[in-house]
């Protein structure tokens, strides 16, 4: 029984890291532009495809194609911002939500047309899949993704905390006019923020590629959880996103171990609703509402 609990905890934590990873980009975009991006899952899917095709045609290990997918998606994200979302900055927030839904539909179905619905996977030769630590199995690709999630959120935190550009991004998210009057080009900050959010999605996608099939609709698997995690952690809060991810991951794993049927999913949404009601700024006092 103890092993079961421990194993569940480990699985939950690893999965939670991945949920957190998916959520970081979402939370960044929300933090700066106050937009809930439904297309985030579709961007993640693009990241997965980039890693997949790099593996197939160039033989690049998905972990090594991260820069490629991150940079490509940065530009795709900036382009989406420039062509569509920049025109929506002052629109009612549900209109912004619907635009991102439209973007999602376009990207996903474009992928379907271009690449067919086939499930595609990357197989790494000689790659150790599991570590056994005292009877507890640890899935290596998930562990890598988990570590990456931690590293990324810390890196992002430091970037926003220590660099001038990062500070400018935060400043813009706090007070747009104040930022303008300090000489910050807020339009450029928007491109960068959405681009960064998209590349974070891409990085998450690349990290998921080694253990999850790539297909045009893969984003749906992660996006709802992403929303839950983002709200849980507080919109715009990176560390909160990771912790929110861990909470969902662990509660799912433990719920799965002890609840009958698929009731474990209920846990996720009930936690979500309770947090929405009781702590609308997220468990860790997200910045904005």
């Amino acid at each position: 029984m103890l092993t079961l609990i421990l194993q569940s905890l480990v699985d939950g934590i690893l999965m939670g890291g991945i949920y957190g990873l998916v959520a970081i980009g979402l939370t960044l975009i929300f933090g700066v532009m106050k937009i809930i991006n439904f297309a985030q899952g579709a961007l993640l899917m693009l990241g997965m495809y980039i890693s997949y095709w790099s593996f197939i045609y160039l033989g690049i290990n998905p972990y090594l194609s991260i820069p490629l997918s991150a940079i490509s998606l940065f530009f795709i994200g900036a382009l989406i911002q420039k062509t569509i979302l920049s025109k929506m900055l002052n629109a009612p927030e549900h209109n912004q939500l619907l635009v991102t839904l439209g973007i999602m539909l376009v990207i996903e179905n474009l992928a379907l047309i271009l690449w067919s619905p086939d499930f595609r996977s990357v197989k790494l030769d000689g790659f150790i899949q599991t570590l056994n630590i005292g009877g507890i199995g640890v899935n290596v690709p998930k562990l890598i993704a988990f570590i990456a999630a931690i590293v990324l959120s810390i890196a992002l935190f430091l970037f926003l905390k220590k660099t001038m550009l990062g500070k400018a991004i935060r400043a813009t998210s706090i007070n747009r006019n104040g930022a303008l009057l300090s000489g910050i080009n807020t339009n450029r900050i928007n491109y960068i923020a959405f681009g960064l959010g998209a590349s974070l999605a891409a990085i998450a996608g690349s990290l998921i590629t080694p253990f999850f099939y790539t297909s045009p609709t893969v984003g749906a698997t992660f996006i709802l959880k992403g929303f839950v995690v983002v709200v849980l952690g507080g919109l715009g809060n990176f560390i909160g996103a990771i912790i929110g991810g861990l909470i969902i991951g662990v509660s799912e794993a433990l719920g799965g171990a002890f609840l009958p049927g698929s009731l474990k999913e209920l846990m996720t949404y009930i936690i979500f609703v309770i947090v929405l009601m009781a702590k609308p700024n997220g468990l860790f006092g997200g910045k904005a509402r």
């Binding site: 500070k167 007070n175 006019n177 104040g178 009057l181 300090s182 000489g183 807020t186």
Partner: protein
């Protein structure tokens, strides 16, 4: 240094500023006085490029700036301490100051200028690492001025720096403005607080309902009864 001619501007279809013309010479401290809703803030927002000018010219250091984007106007050296301060409340004092120096020209002197601000406002040094949002009104005002100074302004625009401050604090803030002026910075001060503003200004303009209705040297305005009337409604 700053020359505004026939400026019209507003929000949407609302015209707030009508045919405004005035100028500020290098090294001067000029006040723009007026009651609430007279269009003072709109004027400053237009100068900084937050609102685009409908018609008219804004010439700054020999350049037409009415079509420039706000961040480029900042680069030119026209810096505003806005109404409501617009601080980055969830960032520290130091970060707020650093961001003041965001434009490329000012960034190389950032550390030196931060020291200067700390010297000017010792309270900011004490609270260097606190969040700006936790500050009282007066401290926020000082920080806002400090942030603007970080951009190495050629001209500093101040929008009602005394709002919400106690008389003592108001005096402190005005003392600082005076000091800044002594350093050679040109200042355009928008105020309700007529006496205090005029007492340190070289010249002043009175704006009413979007139009400039009076102008003159500080002394002449101070003695002018019309000013009193416009403020206190003590019509005869």
């Amino acid at each position: 240094m700053l020359k505004v001619s026939n400026l019209n501007a507003g929000y949407g279809n609302l015209q707030v500023l009508r045919n405004i013309s005035f100028e500020v010479n290098s090294g001067e401290l000029v006040s723009i006085l007026g009651t609430n809703g007279a269009g003072k803030t709109t004027l400053l927002r237009t100068l900084s490029g937050l609102i685009s000018a409908g018609s008219g010219q804004i010439e700054f250091s020999g350049k037409q700036i009415q079509k420039m984007r706000p961040e480029n106007i900042v680069k030119e050296g026209l810096i505003q301490v806005p109404e409501g301060r617009l601080l980055f409340t969830e960032m520290t004092v130091r970060e707020n100051l650093e961001l003041g120096a965001y434009s490329s020209g000012a960034r190389k002197n950032m550390n030196k200028n931060i020291e200067y601000c700390f010297q000017l406002f010792p309270i900011l040094k004490e609270r260097e690492n606190q969040m700006a949002g936790s500050f009282s009104g007066g401290q926020q005002q000082m920080l806002a001025i400090g942030r603007a100074l970080m951009a190495e302004p050629k001209i500093l625009l101040l929008d009602e720096p005394s709002t919400g401050l106690s008389p003592l604090l108001t005096k402190q803030v005005f003392d600082i403005i005076n000091e800044i002026k002594q350093e050679g910075v040109t200042v355009l001060l928008v105020e309700q607080n007529a006496h205090q503003a005029l007492s340190m200004s070289d010249r002043g303009y009175v704006i009413e309902n979007g139009e400039i209705v009076m102008e003159g040297t500080a002394e002449s305005l101070m003695k002018d009864n019309k000013l009193r009337e416009s403020y206190l409604g003590l019509a005869n």
